[in-house]
């Protein structure tokens, strides 16, 4: 059943990807890839794990693939795996500090990014880029976390 909340969540994820695509033109020259869309999705799974299960993650992923014109299934698979991973550690995350959460979520985002490069653009695969992006995504996670938390408390 599609609820207003599901649409709201998907809208934020989609906007995250749009923002990511927009920011790429400014960050890529500095070898920085901000995976804001993946971070936003991760946040929602982390914040409301009871609402995002395998099927929902698959749907969100397929829709993102469709809207972004990617190969159908990439983000679907990524989201399903991320959801599973977060669900496994959801109790543990409650004990994590912000920096630990940043490292974890930045790590999984960088992993998705690395896979993306390997599958779609292996010629541009760069450890340097991944390392810098990992650092940058730690900061991006804090931004996403606090923004979406405020949003969730107000609207969700």
């Amino acid at each position: 059943m599609i609820s207003l909340r599901s649409i709201l969540v998907f809208a934020t994820i989609f906007l995250g990807f749009l923002l990511e695509n927009f920011l790429l033109q400014f960050t890529l020259p500095f070898k920085v890839y901000l995976g804001i869309g993946t971070l936003v999705f991760s946040y929602w799974v982390y914040a409301i794990p009871e609402s995002i299960h395998a099927f929902i993650a698959l749907i969100y992923g397929l829709l993102i693939d469709l809207f972004l014109g990617q190969a159908i299934g990439f983000y679907a698979l990524s989201f399903v795996l991320l959801t599973y991973l977060i669900h496994i550690y959801v109790f543990t995350f409650r004990l994590f500090s912000h920096i630990q959460l940043s490292i974890f979520f930045s790590g999984i985002t960088t992993f998705v990014m690395a896979v993306h490069y390997l599958v779609f653009s292996p010629n541009h695969y760069s450890y340097f880029l991944l390392f810098i992006s990992f650092i940058a995504n730690m900061g991006a996670w804090l931004f996403v976390y606090f923004s979406l938390r405020a949003f969730r408390r107000k609207f969700y």
């Binding site: 395998a54 469709l66 399903v80 599973y84």
Partner: protein
């Protein structure tokens, strides 16, 4: 954070979802299985973007046009206002010029006619037009802005003749009774005849009766009627009107002539009047 404690995560749905996603991915990467759908979405996205851009452009154009129209309307209002002010200014200038001409003409006339006597010029405050046109009471009020002490029974002039006399003053307004008021009597003369011309209660018309004369005596007198100077109010020999008709009235053994006189000026046409001391 989580509002409910998640239950033990079951692997099966994730495995199924992962397999499904992997199949999709492989099918798409290897065989382009979803090219059609992806193409459709991409085209839809592009068209949507174009549509939005067009709409935004049109909206922007409309806003700009609206802004231009607003500016033009504002400019138009300012110009109309300026034109109105200019027209009013022109009208006032013309009126001032007219007033000066009128006043100087009246002054000149009064000086010529009553040079030895003092005179003051007053502006018309009101003329009871309704009574003037319909009824017997013909009066007007002059504005005494300078607060001069104007006595009763002083002759009042307009243009180059007399029109009436003062009959009182209240709150800086000088009341003037006109010749045509049916309670006013003006001693006049024409030829060798003298009579008291009484107002007829009709604009510009006075009349007097003469007894004991024959019709022949009126011949060759001319039409002009002057003040006689009798009564001590009006100066003599001021042209006030022209004879309109001479009617014979016969009452038993009595014969008289009623002379209807048309006054040469109509007070309605004047805004300034001179009061002669």
């Amino acid at each position: 954070m989580a509002r409910t404690t998640p239950t033990q995560t079951s692997f099966t749905p994730y495995a199924l979802a992962s397999i499904l996603a992997t199949v999709c991915l492989l099918a798409d990467l290897n065989y382009g299985f979803f090219d059609g759908i992806r193409g459709f979405f991409k085209a839809s996205g592009i068209y949507s973007q174009l549509l939005i851009n067009n709409s935004l452009d049109r909206l922007q154009y409309n806003f700009q046009s609206f802004g231009k129209i607003n500016t033009l309307i504002k400019e138009n209002r300012i110009l109309v206002k300026k034109l109105e002010i200019q027209n009013t200014q022109d009208f006032l200038n013309r009126q001032t010029l007219f007033k000066e001409l009128h006043l100087s003409s009246l002054n000149l006339t009064l000086n010529t006619m009553f040079g030895k006597q003092n005179h003051q010029i007053f502006k018309l405050a009101s003329l009871d037009i309704k009574n003037y046109l319909c009824c017997s009471s013909h009066t007007l009020q002059l504005l005494n802005t300078s607060g001069l002490d104007v006595r009763k029974n002083l002759p009042v002039a307009a243009d180059n003749t007399l029109v009436g006399q003062t009959i009182g003053s209240h709150l800086d307004l000088i009341k003037v009774i006109l010749f045509s008021d049916d309670s006013h009597i003006l001693p006049v003369q024409f030829g060798n005849f003298f009579c008291d011309a009484k107002g007829e209660g009709v604009p510009r018309v006075i009349a007097c009766q003469i007894e004991g004369v024959s019709e022949d005596e009126f011949k060759g007198l001319g039409d002009q009627v002057f003040t006689s100077g009798l009564g001590g109010i009006y100066p003599k020999e001021v042209l006030v009107g022209n004879i309109m008709t001479i009617d014979l009235i016969e009452l038993q053994d009595e014969r008289m002539f009623k002379i209807m006189i048309e006054l040469i000026v109509d007070p309605i046409d004047y805004n300034y009047f001179g009061v002669i001391e």
